[in-house]
């Protein structure tokens, strides 16, 4: 079903075009007029993109969970590159989230110099992010994925804080180096596919049928995941992020942490799971462990931070751990929770960085010890901060809880101990956030703190949509979940088919026997599973022999039986 209007192409080109317009606003207008004109272009561009994203979500029908609104045009036919865009339930909400956050990130922070290039970079960045979320061709995805680096580099280096050059360089080199692995892996997949079928293509849908040996899958998986793990970031590839988040101007921090982090986690779900399902199943324990370590490690290091922005950076690492957990648990519940958690994390982190930016613009510091008793002079700021903080802690009724619970409950089904250890992270997140809140907002205000002005109207309007979404997604996430779930189910089924495993179903076994339809399905699945299990174990042990991935093989199949409690 191809809609007549090319929604997704427009979605990518609109912000890019607006960026060019912003860059072309003539200097001759005079400083003030030029600034206003640039701001108007920025706002109009991001709001038009938001309107388009809303139109997409209205026109979106979950259906069977496949891609919709597809536009597919041959682009560089000699190389098999096609302009192939599409959304499914997984990407559509990331698109919407990004579209919501960009105008707020622009409105929520005032840039004091050179607005023209700033707005142009931000708009270009939005185009890159949108393109990454909707691209279904590996080369197109890679182009957009890398395109995002340039604006971020200039935003940090041009408008950042004291150590901006170090942070910008570190960010750029680190992520760029990791992407090189992905580029090699992309080419390798296409070449192997060409050897098998004679067709050179970078189309994700076509490449998903490539037959790859387990060794090839593991190596290519590592290539892709290197790029995504740095981008997200996943522990232990995170050390660029505290520097980059802290040195960025507010807009940059918001976009980096809230939107761009999702390029990494989204990439894993979209590309790793589609292309390398067997490697995903085999390496899941490793990635799950990294996720859990990230949750605990991020929380523990956050406890020792004395700087609000770095604290949020490490808390972000912990929250991304939940997304990793949700992805690699490979159950519908956990993965749906993981996708929802991407949106949740975006909204919450964006709100946190905006609020911290406003504290900075009032008090000129984000040192936790330099702030005290702000709740008395700025009660609304404190109230909004409380709500956002509680969402981050995972209070039921706010959005963070729904995602976290789904991830943990879904992970428990397949990987019990990982889920239990991750639950400890739930305790720790309360520890550092409440401590920071008490230091900054509670207690008697010092003289300097006592005159801190409360939120302005403009700031209130910027943060209000975020708070509204945080509450809405916590109370009534059904419309969102109903659209994510079919796509996740499809993806989990794809992984199951490719590996011959079956997703364990929670509940007593006799429940399956009651429903004849279910019984039929489960019997069939069980039969194929047994047949395939032998196969995949055999090929796994082959891989062990040739490659020494001994640790990798152990969990290649997850039968429902072994995880039962006595």
């Amino acid at each position: 079903m191809t809609p007549t209007f090319p929604y997704l192409t427009t979605l990518v080109l609109l912000p890019a075009g607006a960026g060019i317009v912003a860059a072309l606003v003539p200097r001759s207008l005079g400083e003030r007029t030029q600034r206003l004109a640039v701001e108007a272009v920025g706002l109009a561009g991001t709001l038009a993109t938001l309107a388009l994203a809303i139109a997409i979500i209205i026109g979106f029908h979950a259906g069977d969970g496949g891609y919709t609104m597809v536009s597919r045009h041959s682009w560089v036919p000699t190389l098999g590159i096609s302009w192939h865009l599409g959304v499914d339930g997984i990407s559509v909400f990331l698109v919407l989230m990004a579209a919501v956050l960009f105008p707020l990130a622009l409105l929520g922070a005032r840039i004091r110099h050179n607005q023209r290039s700033f707005v142009a970079w931000v708009l270009l960045l939005e185009a890159g992010c949108m393109g990454s979320f909707v691209a279904l061709d590996l080369v197109v995805f890679f182009l957009f994925f890398e395109l995002t680096l340039v604006p971020v580099y200039f935003i940090i280096a041009g408008w950042g804080h004291e150590r901006r050059n170090y942070a910008a360089m570190k960010f750029f080199v680190y992520t760029f180096a990791a992407s090189a692995f992905m580029l090699v892996a992309i080419v390798a997949v296409a070449v192997i596919h060409q050897q098998q079928t004679g067709v050179l293509t970078f189309d994700l849908v076509k490449l998903s049928h490539t037959h790859l040996s387990l060794t090839a899958q593991v190596l290519l998986f590592l290539g892709f995941t290197a790029a995504f793990a740095v981008k997200a970031p996943i522990f232990p590839f995170h050390t660029w992020s505290p520097d980059a988040y802290a040195q960025s101007p507010t807009t940059g921090s918001v976009v980096l942490a809230a939107v761009m982090a999702k390029l990494g986690t989204y990439g894993i779900i979209r590309f790793d799971l589609t292309l390398f399902p067997r490697a995903v199943v085999d390496l899941a324990p490793v990635l799950l462990t990294l996720g859990v370590v990230g949750i605990l490690y991020g929380a523990i290091v956050a406890c020792a931070q004395r700087d609000l922005k770095r604290l949020v950076a490490y808390s972000s690492l912990a929250h991304l751990g939940f997304i990793v957990l949700g992805t690699f648990a490979l159950t519908t519940e956990a993965m749906t929770g993981g996708v929802l958690q991407m949106v949740n994390h975006g909204l919450v982190t964006a709100a946190l960085f905006l609020l911290i930016g406003w504290i900075y613009s009032r008090r000129g510091t984000w040192q936790i010890t330099g702030l005290h008793g702000l709740q008395r002079p700025a009660p609304i700021l404190a109230g909004v901060f409380t709500v956002v903080m509680l969402a981050s802690i995972g209070l039921p009724g706010l959005n963070g809880f729904v995602g976290e619970f789904l991830v943990l409950a879904g992970t428990f089904i397949t990987h019990r101990w990982w889920a239990i250890v991750a639950t400890v992270g739930v305790v720790l997140s309360a520890l550092y956030l409440l401590w920071a809140f008490q230091q900054v907002f509670h207690g008697k205000a010092t003289e300097a703190d006592a005159s801190t002005p409360d939120l302005t109207w403009r700031e209130g309007l910027v943060v209000a949509p975020l708070v509204a979404l945080i509450v809405f997604l916590g109370v009534y996430p059904k419309p969102v979940l109903d659209r994510i779930t079919p796509s996740v189910e499809r993806l989990v089924a794809h992984v199951d088919r490719a590996t011959g495993t079956t997703q364990p179903v929670p509940g007593p076994s006799h429940r399956l026997a009651v429903d004849p339809a279910v019984k039929h399905r489960s019997a069939a699945v069980a039969a194929t599973a047994t047949a395939m299990n032998g196969q995949s174990t055999a090929s796994s042990s082959q891989a062990t022999g040739s490659n020494g991935h001994a640790a990798v093989v152990s969990s290649s199949t997850t039968g429902a039986g072994f995880r039962r409690f006595p």
Binding site: E333, L406, F412, Q438, A445, P477
Partner: protein, 638 residues
């Protein structure tokens, strides 16, 4: 009539929403009256639903599920926001709304002139809504919404006077201790979902066969961890004493009558699960008995009137856990309701005292108040005698019920419970003696500045509280006095405790003691209670200074805070610093910077080779050729 049930949580929630929007404009006292009205409305609705339930025949008909909306539907996890109306949830809803309405009324007077008056009622209304969700929810996850909701309201209200550092710290402490328990709740839910594929209470109980003994015990102990956090049992009890930093109505409502009983409620609700694990029940009963005893010893040595009551609450909750572990769920609920009456009253009475003394909370600076606060004294005395277990007041019956059942099942725990009963009578009478008898010792309190933000007034002798504060005292005194009547089998159609029995079914334990045994036990209880009372009055009326009876070890609550600080707090802080400074910065980021430096150094090194002199390049070529030849030679001549 049952379908109006949704109004119970909705009315206070609406009150919260209105106060959030226009609370500041309404101000003092209208915000308070609005909040009180919304909770009173919820109480009326609860009465209507209760009547509707009574109108149905006993048994499965007295159970009604109201689905509000689908909350989280993903795969096998289908969670609805739905209410379960049954005798247990309605008992809870009735006393929660009733006591809440009274305490809201009281707060109108108590919080007068506070800077954040509307905000107080905003939190209070949200608390009541959350508490009702907690008790009315039909599945574990929706219960958890209320569970966390009351927790966060408790955090806000403890830290209500946030400019005081001790209050802010106490709020944070409460939240974190509760959070530890919540982890247990979460893992219990994961395990239950994994085993049964559902979180609905009815659905879980229908699939109990899926649990082996190990899994059942695991679930019960995890739920116990959750309950111990919320209900302040060993080892998670230290937060409740600090929670007394909150305004006194908060202590009465949240930290005595309602929220802290949530743990007991959860275990009662999960009674069919508990029935699967005798081991877990023994743990619960022992934990309850030991907590009851330990907290009672601490209460004997406190100087602060509210701290005595806080430890007393922990101790009484311990009794309830003892009852749950025994399987005497009816007795647990009975004490819970009676405790809501008399402990709520004790806190409100102490609030009246604190109000009258301009914020003084130290018992050693009170004395002889029965002359100045007559109505407070009379109502307080009723609650004091009730909790001490003097017949025929409610506490005697409720505590007796628990002790009788324990006697039949766990005699050793019964003995601990009996000693605790003596201590209870002792510490309450010590409090009564120090506050209301003896000489006037409050001059200092009234001449100095009251440190309490909620209390004002500049009278030079203690003054009785305004009418809005006295009405709740009188009503609760009536209930605390006659609450024991709940246990009387009035009539087959109205048997207030017996109507709970169908909820617990076969899980319920009811000791069948002979009439004479019951009489003997009742007499023993009374003698012990009177003994404790007599000893305390003899010791404390005349002489308020008896340091030998207030050992530091008890005053410092068995040094539990020091222990946690030394065992967890300080090592934890060091671990965080070590991880941040050494592991994160030096090891992980060090590796990253190391790779960068290595690349840079390699580049710098290689750059030196590229000199641009052709003869140098030629030299390197020669070196390379020679090297290659040498290599080939070694390979050819092995």
């Amino acid at each position: 009539m049952l379908h109006v049930a949704y109004l119970m949580p909705l009315l206070p929630l609406a009150g919260f929403a209105v106060l959030l929007l226009v609370g500041r404009r309404m101000g003092d006292p209208w915000a308070g009256w609005l909040a009180t009205a919304s909770v009173t409305g919820a109480f009326v609705v609860a009465c209507v639903v209760f009547a509707g339930l009574l109108g149905r025949p006993a048994g499965p008909d007295r159970e009604f599920t109201q689905i509000l909306f689908t909350w989280i539907p993903v795969g096998a996890l289908q969670v609805k926001a739905a209410l379960l109306i049954d005798p247990l949830s309605m008992t809870m809803a009735l006393f929660v709304t009733g006591v809440s309405a009274l305490i809201h009324l009281y707060s109108i007077g108590y919080m007068k002139d506070d800077k954040d008056y509307p905000k107080f009622f905003l939190y209070l209304n949200l608390f009541v809504a959350s508490m009702l969700v907690l008790v009315l929810a039909n599945n574990l996850l929706f219960t958890f919404v209320g569970w966390e909701g009351v927790g966060v309201c408790s955090y806000w209200l403890i830290a209500f006077w946030f400019e005081r550092d001790s209050a802010a710290t106490a709020g944070k402490k409460a939240f974190i201790y509760n959070r530890i328990g919540d982890a247990g709740f979460l893992v219990a839910m994961f395990l239950i979902f994994d085993k049964t594929g559902t979180l609905d209470y009815r659905g879980v109980f229908a699939h109990l066969g899926a649990f082996g003994p190990g899994a059942a015990t695991a679930v019960c102990l995890l739920l116990l961890l959750a309950a111990a956090g919320k209900s302040a049992q060993i080892p998670l009890f230290p937060w409740l004493a600090d929670a007394m930093e909150g305004p006194t109505p908060v202590s009465a409502l949240i930290h005595a009558a309602t929220m802290v009983t949530a743990g007991v409620y959860l275990l009662c609700r999960m009674s069919p699960m508990l029935a699967l694990s005798p081991d877990a029940r023994i743990v619960i009963a022992s934990l309850g008995a030991v907590t009851a005893f330990v907290a009672a010893t601490i209460a004997c040595a406190q100087q602060d009137i509210k701290k005595v009551l806080a430890y007393s609450t922990i101790s009484q909750l311990g009794y309830m856990f003892l009852a749950v572990g025994t399987g005497a769920y009816e007795a647990a609920i009975f004490l819970m309701v009676a405790h809501a009456f008399f402990k709520g009253l004790l806190f409100l009475g102490s609030g009246s005292v604190i109000h009258g003394l301009d914020g003084e909370q130290n018992l050693k600076r009170m004395g002889n108040l029965r002359r100045y606060l007559p109505l407070t004294f009379v109502t307080f005395t009723i609650a004091w005698l009730a909790i001490a277990g003097i017949p025929p007041l409610s506490g005697f019956w409720a505590k007796g019920d628990i002790l009788d059942n324990a006697f039949a099942r766990f005699p050793a725990l019964w003995a601990i419970g009996l000693v605790t009963a003596a201590l209870t009578a002792y510490y309450m009478s010590r409090l009564g003696a120090l506050a209301f008898y003896g000489g006037d010792r409050w001059e200092e309190a009234l001449s100095g500045k009251g440190g309490n933000g909620g209390a004002t007034g500049h009278a030079h002798s203690p003054h009785e509280s305004p009418v809005v504060m006295l009405v709740p005292l009188v009503v609760l005194a009536f209930l605390a006095f006659f609450g024991g009547a709940l246990a009387l089998p009035w009539h087959p159609s109205f048997d207030p405790l017996g109507w709970l029995a169908p909820v617990f079914g076969s899980a319920l334990y009811n000791a069948h003691l002979t009439g004479s045994t019951e009489w003997v036990l009742g007499v023993v209880d009374s003698v012990v209670a009177l003994g404790g009372l007599g000893v305390a009055m003899r010791l404390w009326v005349r002489n308020p200074e008896r340091p030998e009876l207030e050992p530091v070890f008890l005053a410092k609550s068995w040094r539990i805070d020091d222990l946690y600080d030394a065992a967890i707090g300080r090592p934890g802080a060091s671990l965080a610093r070590f991880t941040a400074v050494v592991i994160d910065d030096q090891v992980i980021d060090g590796a990253v910077r190391g790779i960068a430096r290595l690349t840079g150094a390699t580049g710098a090194g290689l750059r030196r080779i590229q000199t641009g002199f052709v003869r140098q390049y030629a030299l390197w070529i020669v070196v390379g050729v020679v090297g290659l030849l040498a290599f080939m030679l070694t390979r050819a001549w092995p």
